[in-house]
């Protein structure tokens, strides 16, 4: 049922907008909060992300990914833009920012959990250094240079871990073509 939301949006079904917000609101909000830290920035970005989702709904191809992953990709693009073009990647947290509203676990959380479990398994299959680099870059939004500075790893090593890690994860998750797979085993 959830997988049809974007198709319904692209067909102009306005009810689907509410379903989209209900199903993916928690995912988008959590991604934004985790990467941007500051709730004000996160609120601005989340609003923009939903417009992006509506605009890109017709591009969703279920043969390429799940709808949840597609929505997360749209969200990440906008969040990355915000990080790259802001003065600094993370704004200071205030206590109020960290300790926000009470939990509201509902069906969309369960849907995301399925994806999250698959992603966690894929991450776990990677070497520890690859996990570390991908954690810092994908989850924390750090550049390769920042990861090198923060961990003491040479920049080239960071790049190598990031590249091999993402290629391997791509294969595990079944999200890519076979053309680049030879790189994974290198």
């Amino acid at each position: 049922m959830a997988q049809a939301i974007l198709n319904r949006i692209s067909a102009g079904d306005s009810d689907a907008v509410q379903d989209c917000l209900k199903t993916y609101g928690g995912l988008v909000w959590s991604l934004a909060r985790r990467m941007l830290r500051n709730s004000e920035d996160a609120e601005d970005v989340v609003q923009e992300i939903f417009v992006d989702i509506w605009k890109n709904a017709e591009r969703f191809d279920p043969s390429q990914s799940s709808e949840t992953t597609f929505v997360a990709m749209i969200a990440r693009r906008r969040i990355i833009d915000r990080i790259r073009y802001s003065a600094r990647r993370i704004s200071a947290d205030s206590l109020e920012d960290v300790l926000v509203e009470p939990t509201n676990r509902s069906d969309q959380t369960l849907q995301t959990s399925v994806e999250a479990n698959e992603a966690a398994k894929a991450l776990k299959a990677l070497r520890p250094e690859q996990q570390q680099v991908l954690q810092l870059s994908i989850v924390e939004g750090m550049s390769h240079q920042e990861i090198s500075d923060a961990t003491g790893m040479p920049l080239g090593t960071v790049k190598t871990h990031a590249r091999r890690g993402i290629l391997q994860a791509r294969e595990i998750l079944g999200l890519g073509s076979t053309e680049i797979r030879r790189e994974v085993s290198a």
Binding site: S14, V17, T69, F70, L99, S137
Partner: protein
């Protein structure tokens, strides 16, 4: 030659997925993809990064009700402006009956969400009002919706983490400051809290406090970033730790003063508090 192009392309694809590209790099990647006949390759990398970004993602934090209202209002504007969807939008906004309410469904939903937020706020105020008397009788069973204070969250961690590490805060290299309090951390739960007194209120537009965690996984030159925070009141504050990497066997913690937003590597010019784990 092709191998070199492939290498460059892979670097760009990976960078785009993890951190994004600048406009020049975007153009370079587009040119390479065209040259190699692999247009659209980048999306599979972005989808991979998106999938990985959901690992261990805590989606239990609800989106603020006012933001939901704004998005629904934006949806109404957006779909009203989109010619191809206008017809279907209008038909969907109007109910099956001719006696539909005059406002749109989105407007109604916006008000409904706002009303729900008011109700939640009222309940929150009611349930979190200061308690000055001893309450007797049956206590309500805590529910997942219960909003805990930082102090309660810290206590819950202390009560539930058998591997809890604890250390007391002491002075750093800023002589006029005498911070006190402690820090608790659980490797198993990957969670912890700082309880601090004696740090001055800071203006987050000018500077921020940043926690650093020294553990066995990282060299002491590059401790783990434990997150930035603001002290916005005098007296004791309790702050959750937001470690950027999973610490293991922590041995020392330091709080520095940094530029707004924090830094990747601290120059350690102003260390306002230090805590060494007692073992």
């Amino acid at each position: 030659m092709n191998e070199q192009i492939e290498e460059t392309m892979l670097d760009l694809l990976c960078k785009k997925a993890t951190y994004g590209l600048n406009p020049q790099e975007e153009k370079q990647l587009a040119d390479l993809e065209r040259e190699m006949g692999r247009e659209g390759e980048s999306e599979s990398f972005e989808l991979t990064a998106a999938a990985l970004s959901m690992a261990h993602l805590d989606t239990s934090q609800a989106m603020p009700a006012n933001l939901q209202s704004r998005i629904l209002a934006e949806a109404e504007r957006y779909f009203d402006k989109t010619p191809e969807s206008r017809a279907s939008s209008v038909s969907a906004f109007v109910s099956d009956s001719d006696e539909a309410p005059s406002g749109s469904l989105f407007n109604w939903l916006g008000w409904a969400v706002a009303a729900a937020a008011c109700l939640a706020l009222a309940l929150n105020i009611f349930y979190t009002r200061p308690q000055s008397t001893i309450v007797q009788g049956n206590f309500p069973t805590p529910t997942p919706e219960e909003r805990l204070t930082p102090s309660q969250m810290r206590q819950r961690l202390i009560d539930s983490a058998p591997d809890l590490a604890r250390a007391d805060w002491g002075a750093g290299n800023v002589k006029e400051l005498t911070p006190s309090g402690d820090i608790v951390w659980s490797d198993a739960k990957q969670a912890g809290y700082m309880r601090l007194s004696g740090l001055p209120v800071n203006d987050p537009n000018k500077e921020t406090y940043q926690l650093w965690i020294f553990d066995e996984t990282q060299d002491d030159k590059t401790p783990i970033d434990g997150g930035t925070f603001t002290v916005n009141s005098v007296g004791e504050v309790i702050i959750p730790i937001n470690a950027k990497l999973p610490p293991k066997n922590t041995k020392m913690y330091a709080i520095t003063v940094e530029i707004p937003g924090g830094v990747v590597v601290s120059k350690r010019e102003k260390i306002v508090a230090l805590a060494k784990r007692e073992t």
